[in-house]
Amino acid sequence: MQFVPAHKTAGIREVEAPNSLVLQFGSDRPLPLDAGVSLSPLTIAYQTYGELNAVRSNAVLVCHALTGDQHVANTHPITGKPGWWQTMVGPGRPIDTNRYFVIASNVVGGCMGTTGPTSLNPVSGRPYGLDLPVVTIKDMVRAQAMLVDHLGIDTLFCVAGGSMGGMQVLQWAASYPERVFAAMPIATAARHTAQNIAFHEVGRQAVMADPDWRGGRYLDEGVVPTKGLAVARMAAHITYLSETVLQSKFGRKLQDRVAPTFSFDADFQIENYLRHQGTSFVDRFDANSYLYVTRACDYFDLADDYGGTLAYAFKGSKSRFCVVSFNSDWLYPTSASRAIVHALNAGGASVSFVDIETDRGHDAFLLDTREFIATSRGFLDAAARARGIAEVKSERT
């Protein structure tokens, strides 16, 4: 294999030697996939925070979103930035690491150490590329269950996650109802809509249109389709923000100039901002992995496994749910969460639902949105009391 320039290999290094805990399953423990084949060997890269209590009742599984990873509450090994959910997870936070044992793993198909398209294909001795079978949300959850089994945890106190992470939460609740005491699907949907699929397809086509993509075999050839992946990220990033926030933050403001340049330079601040989002993304994410994780979301339609009626997915569920939406989120709008709530009610499940008022759009679940943090804390504290998890004295931040 040729080597790509150093600045492009940070992500590849994370696949080969992740800066996190690693669990490996050999050929005796293959991961069965929805595609009808098995994945073996399987590596799961994960992080844990806090301590598992003696009765193993305080484990919280955090599921990451599309381009998130297992670095929930620690400095990111590539970007050096804080963990992606430090508003929610940490000492004194709603998912209090002084009280709970928090587990977060990179999804199957990802690029931060869990088996994905950048991993070596045992058959060819080269990276999988597109030879990795297409994975689904259910496959991701199956792999997480293998990790949870390995950690000796029978019932998770809570499974929580936003966006694609929320889909995993719903899948957990449907596939393993008896293993989920509480579930927090946040800013998510039980199925991808035509509009959701459409945006993802734009992203995938941008990646595949980059001449450096090389039919997915770019790693063999020592190149990286950075331009295509950056465009994909730019398009996707727009969907994470509300129009209000775009307008108030950028409006028609010009970038370091007093007049348009009559060129295709980034005259507007929004252009500059999106270009920055695109270029910084390619440093930490793999292009093929982007194809796989977007596909997993597109294939997600939880009701499909239950005769088309979502309520059957949760029938008789003893888990307690807290569904959260954000009123300016147009990617997974409030109506999508409401559909989940109606199904949970119809299935007889115990469900709380809050629609948080914010102008921050889909990204609000990653931000320090006050009402969101407050209700999450209330829900989890009450659930922990019901579960008999000891309180800890810790300063609230």
Binding site: V323, R338, S352, F353, V354, A374, F379
Partner: protein, 219 residues
């Protein structure tokens, strides 16, 4: 729990909710260990009362974000929604009681809401302000203006209450939708039940009323 003990236990709550005596009367109509949906549950006071005093599996629907947040923070399973839109999504017989306190007059389709309540619950408990009260009649008859009272203190142009009714109107609707009144009481100015059972007196003297209904074919 004996009736007396229960009354005494509930009276502790009366100190906490002096303005909502109707909630205590509603609570008295609910059997222990039952399943309850409180539509328009506010900050969850009644849900908490039912859960703690009667070991009820109590759930709620509330429109305001503040109310929902308060409830969820207390660990109560409450969803953001409203009576007109969300009741339709619950299955038949999901609850023993569906409660609507002081909200019927603010719904867009009171008749449909009542029908939905009796579809998803074996019993419906409804409390509402009585528009037939003599004070209101006097204000309209002699003042010539829309009435303003202690309980109904919003001007006509910004009141959330769009479907007022009198106690007799309500009773007529109950018959129209094939429901049956199991228990009922009218409350005076101080929130105490009136000592009479004569309907037209209720209609004249009751500031508000609380009814427990069931389907006609239900025992």
């Amino acid at each position: 729990m004996s009736v007396l003990a229960e009354r005494m236990s509930l009276s502790r709550w009366a100190r906490e909710l002096p303005a909502r005596i109707d909630l205590l009367l509603v609570a008295e109509m609910v059997e222990p260990n039952s399943r309850v949906l409180d539509v328009g549950c506010g900050d969850g006071t009644l849900l908490r009362l039912l859960a703690e005093e009667k070991q009820v599996d109590a759930r709620g629907i509330e429109l305001s974000q503040q109310g929902v947040n308060d409830c969820v923070a207390k660990g109560l399973p409450v969803i953001q929604g409203d009576a007109d839109a969300d009741l339709a999504f619950y299955p038949d017989d999901a609850f023993d009681y569906v409660i609507l306190s002081q909200t019927l007059q603010a719904t867009r389709q009171p008749r449909k809401v009542l029908e939905q309540m009796l579809r998803i619950g074996r019993h419906a408990i409804v409390s509402f302000p009585n528009f037939g009260h003599w004070r209101i009649r006097l204000q309209v008859a002699f003042g010539g203006r829309m009435p303003l009272t202690r309980n109904l203190d919003c001007a006509w142009y910004d009141t959330p209450n769009i479907h007022f009714c009198t106690i007799q109107d309500f009773i007529a609707l109950v018959h129209e939708i094939d429901a049956r009144i199991e228990r009922g009481m009218a409350l005076d100015y101080f929130g105490a039940p009136l000592g009479t059972n004569i309907p037209w007196l209720w209609n004249l003297l009751g500031e508000q009323a609380v009814f427990r209904l069931t389907r006609k074919n239900e025992n």
